[in-house]
């Protein structure tokens, strides 16, 4: 790989061979280290460097690289008297032992370029010499047909003096998913399988991505005309058509009913609700049900729980009181459909005593909430931008520098905590003065918007209000997209951008048009979450069956079928109690309080096992991976045993009802848990113990049915 790269690089430089122009450290030397991988985060570009030699990550900071190469270690990395004896040449050519092995060969163009530069005096570029301003890749998005198809990418750099340069052979290429395409060091891509991925392109501190879709066959001649309910369907189906993927069929009423209850309000429909819906002949019954569910308080609880995850509500230092207060505020805000820009503003500008001012808990994740932690959390929660890396070094996959990070943190420089009232009560307040010190320059940093100008705080002003205005501005591209992405993830099982809080140019959305359209609709219609929920739930995309067809079996990212999701911990706990009619008790909450209606802080082994958030200072998403503890808990865990065997509850009630036959009871269990009746085989199996052991085994037999259903994938997943 290196050899090919070297040859092509030599060719690029050959054009200049006759003229022997003086080489630029920034434009000609630094890219060599980036392309050769020396400046990668796993090598000398790591935060501590490697073996005492530290380069800036991907050449973000050429001046630091120059110092590292020419001045550090008493300048022994270059040898002006005998340039070929320079360590900077001996190491990467493996002429002497090198932990990174051979990166280029003696005599290669890279080698010759560095040698020439040292011979010319190893100088840094003169002041004012042009720097790379933008990097573009062509094509930005392309669909390739057929396996083994090739396509050349081309990269162009524009410099600060307005000049442009073909950087195709100087940049580093990386495929996000190498199973879909492979990319050569010179930018040639070759398809491997149907799918989608992005090619990340980097040099000199700039990074861009090309989005590549691969389809196996030419467009279908007889692609079906799929009905559309709204613009979500238009944009999803348009892309599916481009990809030769036919969406699955419409879900059945039973499937839809169970799915929409779980997704919208976090619980199963009651037997009465199921009957009412299934019996209805109203062609608008799905839309009407969606409206009803969105207006229920449980809808707000689901989103309060989602937001509680992000804000770590009730975890860490907020405690029971702060957590519960905050959760109630979240629930009420969603219930009244508070515009999301107002919601965010209230949180961002919050202050006050934690037990009285719900939103103040937003800033009280730990007693010592530092501006840098607040910057990380705010950018991730409201913008879907991960700034964390830039706290210590420039971001490896994005444009964010340390200056950007600390400038953003400076908006929180006046945040403080003071004790008030009683021992365990604190107040978030704005200190009269406060500043943030840049760890590198040791200087106070001016507040600076991401990708924007600096800001100054005027007297009698809370600069967080300006920050909130900037974040929630209709012009801010990240704010609406971040929340739209989270909503898509909640309802459709996968975000348009994944991870949902990692928006960056090198991680483009799977359907940019859809994300843009959702964001536009959201902003233009007043930032109402309920509107978006209604749109998504009413879309045919949401209502598709989860059964794959021949064309979409391999598709995981384009919403060509409903994405099967493991139930959230709270959904699972509440569903079980709903089916059994045996109320659960969570510490700190009255018997019968649903899991979805409590904030994070209440200890529950069951909920923790099934992925409820754990206390963390910096936000992260819920873990939805299955594990052995979950399996064991479902097989013989205390909760499930109690739920299936407790006296009373629905089973006791049904068994005491002389009008109900054993078949009726089995039917009720299936309907309550799976929103469908058992088929003949299932009924036979369920009744077998009764036939074998008679009425004495009646209770146990039904408990076994419950246990079996609770352990089934059909119950554990929303589908």
């Amino acid at each position: 790989m290196i050899r090919v790269s070297t040859l092509m690089f030599a060719a690029a430089l050959a054009a200049f061979a006759g003229e022997k122009p003086k080489l630029s450290f920034v434009k000609d030397i630094v890219p060599i280290f980036t392309k050769a991988g020396c400046a990668n985060s796993n090598c000398h570009g790591s935060i501590r460097g490697q073996a005492g030699f530290k380069l800036s990550l991907f050449g973000y900071e050429p001046d630091l690289d120059y110092d590292a190469i020419t001045k550090q270690q008493d300048g022994r990395r270059i040898n002006k008297a005998q340039p070929e004896k320079s360590l900077i040449l001996l190491k990467p050519t493996f002429s002497i032992p090198h932990g990174g092995g051979e990166r280029f060969k003696v005599g290669s163009l890279e080698y010759e370029a560095i040698l020439d530069w040292i011979r010319d005096g190893a100088t840094y570029d003169s002041a004012g010499s042009p720097r790379l301003k933008t990097l573009t890749i062509t094509p930005e998005e392309v669909t390739l047909i057929g396996i083994g198809t090739k396509r050349q990418l081309s990269a162009t750099g524009t410099y600060t003096d307005g000049s442009t340069e073909d950087l195709t052979r100087k940049v580093q290429y990386t495929a996000n998913d190498e199973s879909v395409v492979e990319v050569s060091p010179l930018g040639e891509i070759k398809t491997r399988r149907a799918g989608e991925t992005a090619i990340m392109v980097r040099t000199l501190g700039k990074a861009v991505a090309a989005r590549i879709a691969v389809v196996e066959k030419p467009p279908m001649a007889n692609y079906p005309d799929v009905p559309r309910n709204n613009f979500i369907d238009e944009l999803v189906f348009a892309k599916l058509k481009r990809l030769n993927i036919v969406p699955s069929g419409l879900s059945s009423d039973q499937e839809f009913l169970r799915r929409v209850y779980l997704d919208a309000i976090g619980m199963l429909p009651t037997l009465e609700e199921t009957k009412q819906f299934l019996d209805s002949k109203d062609p608008e019954k799905r839309a009407k049900l969606i409206d009803e569910l969105i207006d229920r308080p449980e809808f707000a609880e689901v989103w309060a729980t989602r937001f509680a995850d992000l804000f770590r509500t009730g975890l860490l230092d907020q405690g029971y009181k702060g957590g519960r207060l905050m959760y109630n505020w979240l629930q009420k805000s969603v219930m009244e459909d508070k515009p999301y820009n107002q919601f965010a503003t209230e949180l961002l500008t919050a202050s006050g005593q934690l037990k009285f001012n719900a939103t103040a808990n937003f800033y009280y994740v730990t007693e010592f909430s530092e501006p840098e932690n607040l910057a990380t959390n705010v950018s991730q929660v409201f913008l879907g931008v991960r700034l964390e890396c830039a706290r210590c070094h420039n971001h490896p996959w994005e444009k964010w520098t340390q200056d950007d990070f600390w400038g953003f943190a400076a908006f929180f420089g006046r945040m403080g905590i003071k004790d008030t009232y009683e021992n365990d009560e604190s107040q978030v307040l704005l200190k009269v003065k406060g500043e943030v010190i840049h760890p590198k320059t040791k200087q106070a940093v001016l507040p600076k918007y991401l990708d924007g100008p600096t800001e100054t705080e005027q007297p009698d002003e809370d600069i967080r209000e300006k920050l909130a205005a900037w974040i929630t501005s209709p012009q801010n591209p990240w704010f609406p997209r971040a929340i739209m992405n989270r909503m898509v993830k909640h309802y459709l099982g996968r975000g348009l951008v994944e991870p949902v809080d990692d928006f960056r140019v090198t991680n483009p959305p799977t359907n940019q048009a859809l994300l843009d359209a959702l964001a536009k609709d959201f902003v233009e219609n007043g930032y109402h979450l309920k509107r978006t929920a209604r749109l998504i739930l009413n879309s045919r995309v949401y209502q598709l069956s989860s059964e794959p067809n021949e064309t979409n079996r391999g598709d995981q990212i384009n919403y060509s079928r409903y994405s099967v999701k493991r139930l959230m911990a709270e959904q699972l706990a509440d569903s079980i109690t709903e089916v059994t009619g045996v109320p659960e008790k969570y510490p700190g909450y009255m018997l019968g309080t649903r899991a979805m209606a409590i904030p994070q802080g209440a200890p529950s082994y069951f909920l923790a096992t099934f992925g409820r958030m754990k206390a963390r200072e910096v936000i992260c998403e819920r873990d939805s991976q299955p594990d052995m503890a979950q399996a064991m808990h479902l097989i013989s865990g205390e909760t499930l045993v109690r739920q299936t065997t407790a006296e009373g509850g629905n089973l006791g009630k049904w068994m005491a009802d002389a009008a109900l036959s054993n078949e009726d009871i089995v039917r009720r269990i299936f309907l309550a848990a799976l929103v469908r009746e058992p088929d003949r085989r299932e009924m036979e199996v369920a009744l077998l113990p009764l036939q074998a052991h008679g009425e004495a085994a009646r209770r146990e037999a039904f408990e076994d049915v419950l246990w079996t259903i609770f352990n089934s994938k059909e119950f554990l997943f929303n589908h």
């Binding site: 308080p297 006050g352 037990k355 009232y421 107040q427 009269v432 009698d460 009255m590």
Partner: protein, 698 residues
């Protein structure tokens, strides 16, 4: 002189402040003295209705041998029905003219006194009936009402009520504010069990409050519980429930005595209020208008009413509203803040004055300008938290051209044991005559229509005041006890102040102490220094060995000289009326009662109960204090002898402060009370429970 630097008192109130590490030369020979004064941890019910006779139980310790329970008001009478070490039962008769609110009682035993509070309400009440822990077992109630209950651990008290659409119901839990330990929560639920509203902390001392607008006619539930399911048999409460009047705020927050004042109350269910009464019928206000939730009334406060803080009682005909409104009486011109109060155009006021305003929106800052003479010393004295409002004011003093001069925030931040005071107080001496500006805002830059402040600005001369920090002191014959007092310097006083007690009983002598001109520093829970609002001093009081046992009110005095002028003041007597020690205030009777009593030779302090299971060993830890100087071992024995129960490890060696007695049931055991005896010393009763648990615990 003995100046306090300590982790704080107040965990036990009305305690005898033992010398321990402070007494030094004064009592080097004395061992730490026991606290034998009565202590009440819980009252149930927490109150009674006007005109009612109620049986009330006081739980605590050292309550045996109660001599009497006296209320500060003569028209509330208490007759002791029974008493033992842990409990007193009394019949309390409330007169027909007792104003609603909290009223002090004092329990007296031979070893001291205890002052606590008892709530008098205006609504007919009822008691909670267990089991009422969930919706299925909810207790039916009719509104309006006041419910007396107790929240035990993981206990929920659920009440079902009927309400009409459009009603605004008030649910107000009196617990911490009435001396209870309960940190309660309230929740309103619909018939499906959905929580429609919830509140944990509304008042600054953690009592919850809900205002529930009934969406549709039907049945609902109100749920009382402890925060995080905390609770105990001591956690009593009173729940006021119904469409009763409730005031959010009153402006101005103060009235000037000697003149007629117009005041405005904003709140809920105020439309039927026709009369307002200041304190115990000190003045009557007449409603002149009611519009859009705001009640306007006129009230003339006689010149004879002393300046200070009072309660305003609201009446609809003869029916009094269950909750009162705090109100200040002053000699200041009570002005309302106008809307034009910005930095560039402050509201001009003339001193002395009290401006009453609202920090009504986020980042609101109210500016007032005033003129002073050169050398004038002016106090800026804010009341807000003390009036029950939830803001946390900060004041900043500027020159006319906005140059910063001084600022003040909390007068006393919480520090682990001291009740906080977030209201700022600033005294500034102006070198130059001219116009200046004072700004007031919330420290967290919050705002609310109910963030009312009362900013008094008045010239001051150097002065001080004296607070007695305990309404009682127990003096043991032949020993020296300490009485805590606090001196606060006002108006720039910077000289030492002499403090002493007088009117002491025969055989009791006291020493004068000097309070230095610096505030006391204490350590908070994080071992950080916290400055108190004044200088705390312990006054040593020595009872001679032959001092006669008995009671006597004593008086406290302070005297100081500054700039050639000598001032002398008596003390205001404070107490912590909340068992957990967070709320303080002046006692109603304004007395410090000293009790002279004999120091017992031996004190035995066992657990309140012992759980004994057949065949298992129960371990009973007994604290032992010896004051007899005895060098011989003492043997502990049960009294009476318990058949079938064996006691091992019963010998107390000299110098031992705790012993673990092993108790075994050797045969059938009957549950009954017993005591421990060691020589002449007898312990409080121990309840013997027969169960399955191995260990007893306190």
């Amino acid at each position: 002189m003995v100046e306090l630097t300590y982790m704080g008192y107040g965990v036990n109130r009305n305690v005898t402040y033992v010398m321990a590490c402070f007494c030094g030369l004064l009592c080097a020979a004395d061992a730490p003295l026991p606290d034998l004064a009565p202590f009440v941890r819980s009252v149930f019910p927490l109150g009674a209705k006007v005109g009612e006779i109620a049986t009330v139980q006081f739980l605590g310790h050292h309550l045996d041998g109660v001599i009497g329970i006296q209320f500060a008001r003569k028209d509330i009478r208490a007759d002791v029905l029974s008493a033992d070490f842990y409990a007193v039962k009394a019949r309390i008769s409330v007169g027909q003219n007792v104003p609603t609110g909290l009223h002090d009682y004092r329990i007296t035993t031979a070893a001291g006194t205890y002052v606590g509070v008892f709530h008098i309400g205006s609504l007919a009440g009822q008691r909670e009936v267990e089991p009422n822990n969930d919706l299925a077992h909810a207790q039916q109630i009719s509104l309006p009402t006041i419910i007396d209950g107790v929240v035990e651990e993981a206990d929920y008290d659920v009440f079902r009520f009927h309400a009409e659409a459009g009603q605004t119901l008030i649910f107000d839990l009196l617990a911490r504010r009435a001396g209870s330990w309960l940190d309660g929560t309230l929740g309103v639920l619909d018939e499906r069990g959905n929580e429609l509203d919830f509140n944990d902390d509304y008042y600054i001392h953690k009592d919850p409050h809900l205002e529930f607008r009934v969406p549709r006619t039907g049945d609902y539930y109100i749920r009382v519980s402890g925060t995080g399911e905390e609770g105990s048999k001591y956690d009593s409460y009173r729940l006021i429930a119904g469409a009763v009047p409730y005031a959010w705020r009153m402006l101005p927050a103060g009235t000037r005595r000697g003149v007629s004042n117009e005041l405005h109350i904003t709140g809920l269910n105020l439309d039927k209020i026709d009369r307002l009464v200041l304190g115990d019928s000190l003045a009557v206000g007449k409603v002149t208008a009611f519009q859009a939730g705001e009640l306007t009334f006129q009230m003339h406060v006689p010149q004879s009413v002393a300046p200070g803080r009072y309660e305003l009682h609201l009446f609809a005909g003869t029916v009094e509203a269950p909750l009162t409104i705090p109100i200040l009486v002053s000699d200041l011109d009570e002005k309302l803040a106008t809307s034009a109060k910005t930095r560039s155009s402050p509201q001009a006021v003339s001193l002395p004055v009290a401006v009453n305003g609202i920090i009504d929106h986020k980042r609101a800052e109210n500016f007032f300008s005033f003129e002073v003479e050169a050398g004038e010393r002016v106090a800026f004295d804010v009341d807000s938290m003390k009036l029950g409002y939830l803001d946390d004011p900060v004041i900043v003093l500027y020159t006319a051209d906005n140059q910063f001069l001084a600022s003040a925030d909390d007068r006393l931040q919480q520090n682990g044991s001291q009740p906080p005071n977030l209201d700022p107080y600033l005294v500034y001496k102006f070198d130059k005559a001219g116009r200046y500006t004072i700004m007031i805002r919330d420290s967290a830059e919050r705002g609310s229509p109910n963030y009312v402040y009362h900013l008094a600005i008045y010239p001051v001369v150097p002065d001080f005041d004296l607070k007695g920090l305990s309404p009682q002191v127990t003096l043991f014959q032949g020993r020296t006890s300490m009485l805590p007092v606090r001196v606060r310097r006002l108006g720039g006083w910077d000289q030492p102040i002499e403090v002493w007690a007088e009117d002491l009983a025969a055989g009791v002598t006291g020493e004068h102490q000097m309070a230095p001109p610096k505030d006391t520093i204490v350590k908070d829970n994080c071992a950080l220094d916290r400055k108190l609002d004044g200088t705390d001093v312990l006054l040593p009081l020595h009872a001679a060995g032959d001092a006669r046992a008995g009671f006597r009110p004593i008086r406290l005095h302070a005297r100081g000289t500054m700039d050639g002028k000598t001032l002398e003041h008596g003390a205001e007597i404070l107490y912590l009326w909340e068992s957990v020690g967070k709320i303080t205030g002046p006692t109603e009777d304004q007395q410090v009662i000293s009790t002279v009593t004999a120091l017992p030779a031996v004190l035995l302090d066992p657990p309140e109960s012992l759980n004994l299971a057949p065949g298992r060993v129960a371990r009973m830890k007994v604290r032992v204090e010896r004051f007899d100087g005895g060098k011989d071992p003492l043997k502990i024995e049960p009294d009476p002898v318990l058949p079938g129960v064996k006691f091992d490890n019963t010998v107390i060696e000299p110098g031992t402060s705790q012993i673990e007695v092993r108790v075994t049931a050797t045969g059938p055991v009957t549950a009954k009370d017993f005591r421990l005896r060691a020589g002449a010393a007898v312990s409080p009763r121990i309840e013997l429970q027969v169960g399955t648990n191995e260990e007893s615990s306190r």
